[in-house]
């Protein structure tokens, strides 16, 4: 059986995810095949595995750091919030059903079984597991509902490392209090502590480290500094409203409707020096960007209604008519069409809603969810991207809707849906309007393709009368690699790895 270690936090923003990613990379560098794992995730940012299963993005990032392929066992339960107290529950990468909290917790036995299976499959296939917890493990009012902290640690027989954020003060109290509220057995499971987000030289907190060790009897493995240079996909929530690069030339507005999902699609623009990206929620915030993106949505009809209510719809249509570039991804693509119907009432009471009618497509929502990685061949209908047949784009589809092109609209891409490396089905996707400035696709991660992203940016620059961006920048993948390695180097520098390895392997 493989070994395991779990990273838990004293609060939800203690830095668990990032430290788990750091540890994954360190282990990979040291020759271990590690698998990241989080038993239960709540997020609207998801990803599709090779086998076509939907999982949380955080574990995909950690898998990439661990240099292994993301698989469904790493994130076996995903909750995608769709309304107050209601989530779409994804089990083992496939839609189970929409549930309220009470109904979900009533399924605890089924959920535990899924978690156990996922852990044992991972243990059979990897050298070790790096588990991530959620929130704080000592919320006593939620103890019987715990699936993500001590319960998961117990299932995986994982020693626990507790991470505490020192940035806002109260670090001693949060550590001591958390340990105090755990049960005797749970407390025994905690083998080490990491103090995170220290501003200044970690050396300066030496006396603090000694006091924590004295108070808790637990070893402090290290003090991690505040890392503000890190650039990795955002996890569950948007951290900033504007990501602006010095001397940017292209202004991109992403419409941040309430059910916005997969906004990690746009992380790839953040490292482009000529780009500023803004998340817009109000008409007044839209202004006159060079590109407007309608992202994916977990609640398409609701979010389209939001566009009408906020008057963003009229403004987007107006700017589209003035020639502004508009792109719809997934749910956003559907919204750009003539109408969206929901005959089975999947999203609530509205059976039909008119779209922005910028594209001649119609969408019918359906219960069946398409979740596939795809390889896309461009049909060269986008003027700015003329590619050869060999130049394929990669990405993935996640949608519960079928879109048809009306009249004689031409598709943009030929998608080869993959399942476990085999072509399963070929479909045609996307469309563009007559003047070429409005288009949409189901393809998530399309901007991860360096050639495509660069062509789009150069197209926008040229349109403004600016010269194309000739600077040969690093590819998106290289930038992420740099970040994982930087993270790992910081981890090695500040964490007592020998002690941590002892905890993991001598357990």
């Amino acid at each position: 059986m493989a070994d395991a270690v779990m990273i838990q936090g004293t609060a939800s923003d203690a830095g668990k995810s990032i430290l788990a990613a750091a540890l994954c990379r360190v282990l990979a560098q040291d020759g271990y095949r590690a698998a990241p794992f989080k038993s239960q995730n709540m997020s609207l940012n998801s990803y599709i595995t090779d086998a076509g299963r939907e999982i949380a993005v955080a574990q995909v990032v950690q898998a990439e750091a661990a240099e292994v392929k993301a698989e469904v066992n790493m994130s076996p339960i995903l909750m995608k919030p769709i309304a107050d107290n209601m989530s779409q529950i994804i089990l083992k990468g496939e839609v189970f059903k929409n549930m309220k909290a009470a109904a979900y917790f009533a399924e605890k036995e089924r959920l535990l079984k899924i978690i156990k299976e996922a852990v044992s499959e991972l243990k059979a296939n990897y050298d070790l597991l790096v588990l991530e917890g959620g929130g704080n493990p000592a919320e006593v009012n939620l103890r019987d509902k715990d699936l993500v902290n001590m319960k998961a640690a117990e299932i995986a027989a994982a020693p626990v490392i507790l991470v505490a954020d020192i940035d806002k003060g109260g670090v001693f109290a949060s550590i001591v209090g958390t340990l105090d509220l755990l049960t005797e057995n749970e407390r025994k499971r905690v083998k080490g502590i990491i103090v995170n987000k220290f501003r200044g030289e970690p050396e300066a907190f030496k006396s603090g480290v000694e006091l924590i060790e004295k108070q808790t009897g637990k070893k402090v493995l290290g003090v991690m500094p505040y890392l503000d240079k890190l650039n990795l996909p955002s996890e569950d929530s948007l951290q900033q409203q504007i990501y602006s690069n010095q001397d940017y030339k292209i202004d991109i507005a992403v419409i941040a409707y309430p059910g916005m999902s997969n906004f990690t699609d746009f992380d790839y623009f953040k490292t482009e020096k000529v780009v500023q990206i803004r998340y817009v929620q109000k008409e007044a915030e839209l202004k006159e960007p060079d590109l407007i993106i309608l992202p994916g949505s977990k609640t398409t009809i609701n979010d389209l209604q939001f566009l009408y209510d906020s008057n963003l719809a009229a403004e987007i249509v107006k700017q589209a008519e003035q020639g502004t570039e508009i792109i719809g991804i997934c749910g956003g693509y559907q919204m750009l069409g003539q109408k969206i119907s929901d005959p089975d009432n999947l999203e609530g009471s509205e059976h039909e809603i008119a779209g922005l009618s910028l594209l001649q497509i119609r969408t019918v929502l359906e219960a069946k969810k398409v979740t596939r990685q795809v390889r896309a061949e461009s049909l060269n209908k986008l003027k700015f991207f003329q590619s050869s047949r060999e130049q394929v784009l990669t990405g993935f589809e996640i949608h519960q809707g079928k879109t048809i092109r009306v009249s004689e609209q031409q598709p943009l891409f030929k998608l080869k849906r993959q399942k476990s490396g085999e072509v399963e089905k070929i479909v045609f996707d996307g469309t563009v309007n007559e003047s070429g400035n409005v288009w949409g696709t189901y393809l998530h991660d399309i901007f991860k393709n360096d050639g495509f992203r660069k062509s789009l940016i150069n197209h926008l620059l040229t349109k403004k009368g600016l010269s194309p961006d000739s600077e040969s920048e690093k590819t998106a993948a290289e930038i992420r690699e740099d970040n994982y390695n930087y993270l790992a180097a910081e981890f090695r520098k500040h964490i007592d790895l020998e002690e941590l390895y002892k905890i993991i392997f001598d357990n």
Binding site: A11, A14, G135, N136, N141, A173, S174, V176, D180, A284
Partner: protein, 517 residues
């Protein structure tokens, strides 16, 4: 005779638990009941300060709390203020006056006696002259690695054995652990002073939280005195954060298509950014904080705020290219306003022979104003009343403004500014710390698009603010806002709303009895 004055202290489990606004609410609640109430915070670390009527410098949170208590802010309410200048350097303000720049970490032991005595004296005077003192702590009282007394927290509580309410934010989880851990790390005597717990920033289903409240009460033997909801639309100044809160980037939501665009340069040591709170409430504005170099030509107004390290921050602007962008904007006729440190930066030269501001002895300014500034050891701190100088250029930019109107503000600066080449001042200071005066302040350039002043709180003057904004609106043929709004009334409204919300969720009579025990 026994002193009957009540004292009640608010401490938090971390720095963003919500102490300051909770204390503000209590000040208003008890003042409305006719109880003579004052706020107190012994020790404050902040770059946002305010000047009392007597010219003493205090943390701005206590100015707001004093106002909530219908009181004029006094230096006793906030006797020790520490202003961080970077690189471990701090300016220590004791009783509202600068002591000296010290390397705080190295020499803080020298200050223990002074701190102790200062805090005791201030609190005694407040207690002698009032009916209720609402005391605010700082950070967490359980930072057990501190090597000096926790002046801001338990040291102050123990002077009169003031009952303590411990407040914790539940927003990010770990609230129970923080409360339990904080209590556990206090000494038995200190723990006894904690009389109640407050859970702050709660959203969601109370039924799910109820077991946690019951557990906390039985486990800690402390009463959970309130569960306060998350308040999102409050427009009170962000006083206490040591640096600009990221939420401030979301500044000004209430704008329309014809918005004026305002850039505030986010200096590394930006201070008194509360100056812009009044802009936050204006309709039809979009205010953005700018820290990276970028083209500024699409803004209608650029503001360079105050700084605790003026020369270093100016160097920062030059190195990252923003200085050049500001000059370009000036040439394009865009309106530029410098406040305090920002005013100094707009001049030709800044000289710092004593190293008051940092390590740079001399640096050229942006040279948009014909002035020169020299930093001295003495700090000028006054509340002031000013009138506009009969200065034609700026009057054109303030067409609707009555030049006879008296405006209020406050000065906090170490530099003295010299006017070169017959440059005229912008304002005449007619009153300084309650005494009649006749001094010059501020300057304006030839074209009339760029001016600077030492006056903090300038935009809180409704007519002046409206005149500046309406002038810009006229320039762009945007409909002017005839009515504007009354900043002071708006602040009052917000304090009242906050107080109402807290009063609804807590037994205020019980708190009052507690304070008098």
């Amino acid at each position: 005779m026994k002193n009957k004055t009540g004292t009640l202290m608010i401490q938090g489990t971390a720095s963003d638990a919500g102490k300051s606004l909770f204390a503000t609410a209590l000040c208003r609640i008890f003042a409305r009941k006719g109880i003579k109430t004052v706020p107190f915070k012994a020790w404050n670390m902040s770059l946002n300060s305010y000047i009392t009527k007597n010219g003493r410098e205090v943390g701005i949170a206590q100015a707001l709390q004093a106002r909530a208590a219908f009181r004029e802010v006094e230096v006793d309410m906030q006797p020790i203020l520490v202003k961080a200048m970077g690189d471990g350097q701090c300016q220590i303000v004791i009783n509202g006056q600068v002591d000296q720049n010290i390397n705080y970490q190295k020499r803080k032991k020298d200050y223990l006696k002074i701190y102790e005595q200062t805090i005791r004296n201030s609190l005694k005077r407040l207690r002698d002259n009032n009916e209720l003192v609402i005391i605010e702590g700082a950070g967490s009282p359980a930072e057990i690695n501190r090597t000096t007394p926790d002046f801001a927290n338990m040291f102050t509580a123990e002077i009169y054995n003031s009952p303590v309410l411990l407040i914790s934010s539940i927003e990010k989880g770990g609230c129970l652990a923080s409360l339990v851990g904080t209590l556990k790390l206090l000494s038995p005597g200190q723990r006894k002073l904690v009389k109640g717990l407050i859970i702050n920033k709660f959203r969601g289903d109370f039924d799910l939280l109820k077991p946690a409240v019951d557990f906390l009460e039985s486990y800690t033997k402390k009463e959970v005195m309130a569960v306060l909801p998350y308040l999102k639309d409050l427009s009170l100044p962000e006083e206490d954060s040591a640096s600009l809160n990221p939420d401030q980037y979301k500044f000004n939501k209430d704008n329309n298509k014809n918005s004026l665009r305002i850039a505030v340069i986010n200096l590394p040591h930006i201070s008194n950014f509360t100056d812009f709170n009044s802009l936050k409430l204006e309709k039809g504005l979009r205010v953005e904080y700018i820290e990276n170099s970028r083209n500024l030509l699409d803004f209608d107004l650029i503001i360079i705020p105050g700084s605790k390290a003026t020369t270093g921050d100016l160097k920062f602007l030059k190195e990252n290219g923003l200085a050049a962008e500001i000059k370009k904007a000036d040439q394009a006729g865009i309106m530029i306003i410098g406040i305090c440190g920002g005013f100094q930066m707009l001049g030709r030269k800044l000289i710092d022979s004593y190293g008051t501001e940092g390590n740079i002895r001399e640096i050229n300014g942006l040279a948009l104003l014909d002035i020169k500034t020299e930093f001295l050891k003495e700090k000028t701190t006054h509340q002031v009343k000013v009138k506009l100088n009969s200065n034609q250029q700026l009057k054109n930019g303030l067409s609707e403004f009555n030049s006879q109107e008296i405006m209020t503000g406050y000065e906090i600066h170490m530099g003295q500014t010299e006017y070169l080449n017959q440059t005229e001042e912008l304002f005449k200071i007619i009153e300084q710390s309650d005494r009649e005066a006749d001094f010059k302040d501020g300057a304006v350039n030839q074209a009339g698009n760029c001016f600077g002043t030492y006056l903090h709180g300038l935009f809180d003057n409704d007519n002046f603010r409206s005149a500046i904004l309406n002038n810009l609106r006229n320039k762009h043929s945007i409909e002017t806002d005839k009515n504007g709004y009354n900043y002071q009334k708006e602040i009052e409204k917000n304090i009242d709303q906050l107080a109402d919300m807290v009063a609804e969720n807590i037994d205020t009579d019980k708190l009052l009895n507690l304070s008098r025990r």
